[in-house]
């Protein structure tokens, strides 16, 4: 059952990701990305990481993608022809080559690296309490640095916006 769901959501996520890149309409791309995030959240839930799953849904699918959609709709982006017209063929070749190299690297690593045996999650894994405890003990420094970084970004955004008005 769990395996079936994993494959279902995984395939859907892959499909959404690929379709998002291939789609020419910005809004469709954004919606496919939301679908992708939704599937990721379901995968997190299958891994017993409920808090992460809900946060993924809440923050990425629920807030950030709404913002992206908002901007797309505000600018009224419709279907566009490719922006790059010069050297298109050579760029495509380079892109395919780079992607192939990436895939090969990943595959070779997967072959050699010893994957950790999956084990049942311990009781209380993924709960709000457990995640909070880890976040504020072991990872408190990265957490605080991230918050300062975000604060700086907010202040910067406000400054940029203010100079324009």
């Amino acid at each position: 059952m769990e395996l079936l769901m994993f494959y279902g959501f995984g395939l859907l996520a892959l499909f959404a990701g690929v379709a998002m890149i291939l789609s020419r309409q910005p809004v469709t791309s954004a919606l496919l990305m939301i679908l992708n995030m939704f599937c990721l959240s379901a995968l997190y839930a299958l891994l017993d990481a409920h808090l992460i799953a809900v946060l993924q849904l809440l923050v990425y699918a629920g807030a950030i993608m709404v913002l992206v959609l908002f901007v797309i709709m505000l600018l009224n982006l419709r279907e566009k022809k490719g922006i790059i017209t010069k050297h298109q063929a050579s760029l495509q070749v380079v892109g395919v080559a780079a992607f192939g190299f990436f895939v090969m690297t990943v595959v070779s690593r997967l072959n050699t690296a010893a994957l950790p045996k999956s084990k049942a999650a311990s009781a209380g894994f993924g709960t709000v309490e457990a995640v909070g405890r880890i976040l504020f003990t072991d990872y408190v420094l990265p957490f605080e640095i991230a918050s300062v970084l975000l604060l700086a970004a907010i202040v910067g955004a406000v400054m940029l916006a203010k100079s324009k008005v």
Partner: protein, 372 residues
């Protein structure tokens, strides 16, 4: 979510009662929402607004001369909406136009999965917990699902190929985004006080009348109900569908059953909001000054199991009565206040509610430190 997605051992021998219980709960919630509230709230809204404005309201539809307070208008509405032409405008994005109403309705329904409509009861040796999914993340799940429902309106606005719809969709996006943040922060105080996100635990903690959320977090309550009204897109905050400006906003181009689905989503959201309000601030299924144990003693003459059943029924009834009361109050607010302007909505969200909710967190933390 472990309850919804059990592992490979989905059907061991002892699971059958749990499965039956789960199905019963899901069916109960589904019928309450889709069968009772979704159709009836349309009637309640008409009739209540009429009486508030010294009017009579819908009273003409009758079967053999019986009007039943105009209740039959629900039926006529259903027939009308079912038989209406389902129009899709030219140039609309057809698949998305189809999809949008479903995205709007489904989250409103599944958000109720984590709201407990009763406590825990020991029925014939089987532990029954009256909530569909007793998630550890509790309220966050409601938020996540509510944020998904935003897409229903946004996609509807975009897919309709209509300027008013698009403006409505843009407004929905902006409003939802602004108030989601404030709503989450407004509830942090409650989580701090009760020390849990699990709605059943919060319900149990409110057994003492003076420990109800409204007394422990009055400011949080006011902020939350304001944000909830904004999330519901009803009148004081109905700029996305402002009739006088945008015709009907994001669902201008919808007709027939799909139009009805947007209304249903709005009403179901109202039920969900009332459910969250009751579960967090108004003691859930608890009766003031009457504990579950005292009730069980009162029904003691029925024997231990039947007494538990009686207590359960009373608690469920109390919960839904509270929800009805809150729906009444939400309707009162909706028919009392005029619509905010767009800039007022944004100002209220970012400059007033957000700072106030941060202050609320700070004060709650300080008080908790002092009390400890």
């Amino acid at each position: 979510m472990a309850d919804i997605f059990p592992g490979p051992d989905i059907f061991p021998a002892g699971m059958l009662p749990s499965l039956v219980e789960m199905m019963a709960k899901i069916i109960f919630i589904f019928t309450m929402n889709m069968g009772v509230f979704a159709p009836l709230l349309g009637w309640v809204e008409r009739k209540q607004s009429a009486l508030m404005q010294d009017r009579i309201g819908a009273n003409r539809a009758d079967i053999l001369g019986f009007t039943v307070f105009g209740l039959l208008h629900t039926l006529t509405d259903a027939i009308k909406l079912l038989t209406k032409e389902d129009f899709i405008p030219e140039g609309a994005d057809r698949p998305l136009h189809y999809l949008a109403p479903f995205i709007a309705v489904v989250p409103a329904l599944i958000a109720f999965a984590v709201i407990p409509f009763g406590g825990q009861y020991d029925l014939w040796g089987h532990k029954t917990n009256l909530v569909i999914a007793d998630l550890d993340v509790g309220v966050l799940f409601v938020f996540a699902v509510a944020s998904i429902s935003t897409y229903g309106s946004v996609i509807a606005g975009w897919a309709s190929n209509n300027n008013w719809s698009l403006l409505g969709g843009v407004r929905v996006a902006a409003q939802m985004l602004s108030y989601e943040v404030a709503m989450g922060l407004a509830l942090v105080g409650i989580f701090m006080v009760y020390g849990t996100l699990r709605l059943t635990d919060i319900g149990v903690a409110q057994e003492n009348f003076l420990h109800w959320g409204i007394f422990l977090q009055p400011l949080g309550f006011i902020l939350f109900i304001t944000c909830a009204l904004a999330e519901n897109k009803r009148t004081p905050f109905d700029i996305p569908e402002a009739e006088s400006e945008l015709i009907a906003g994001y669902f201008t181009e919808y007709s027939g059953l799909k139009f009805a689905m947007f209304w249903m989503a709005e009403f179901l959201e109202m039920v969900t909001i009332s459910g969250v309000l009751v579960a967090l601030f108004f003691g859930g299924w608890q009766i003031p000054f009457v504990s579950g144990a005292a009730l069980a003693r009162l029904f003691g003459f029925l024997g231990p199991n039947l007494a538990q059943v009686a207590v359960m029924l009373v608690h469920v009834a109390v919960f839904w009565a509270k929800i009805l009361l809150w729906i009444f109050i939400l309707m009162l607010i909706r028919w009392t206040l005029p619509r905010f302007r767009y800039d007022q909505v944004m100002k209220l969200g970012w400059k007033i509610i957000l700072p106030l909710s941060l202050i609320n967190i700070l004060v709650t933390g300080l008080v908790m430190l002092l009390v400890k």
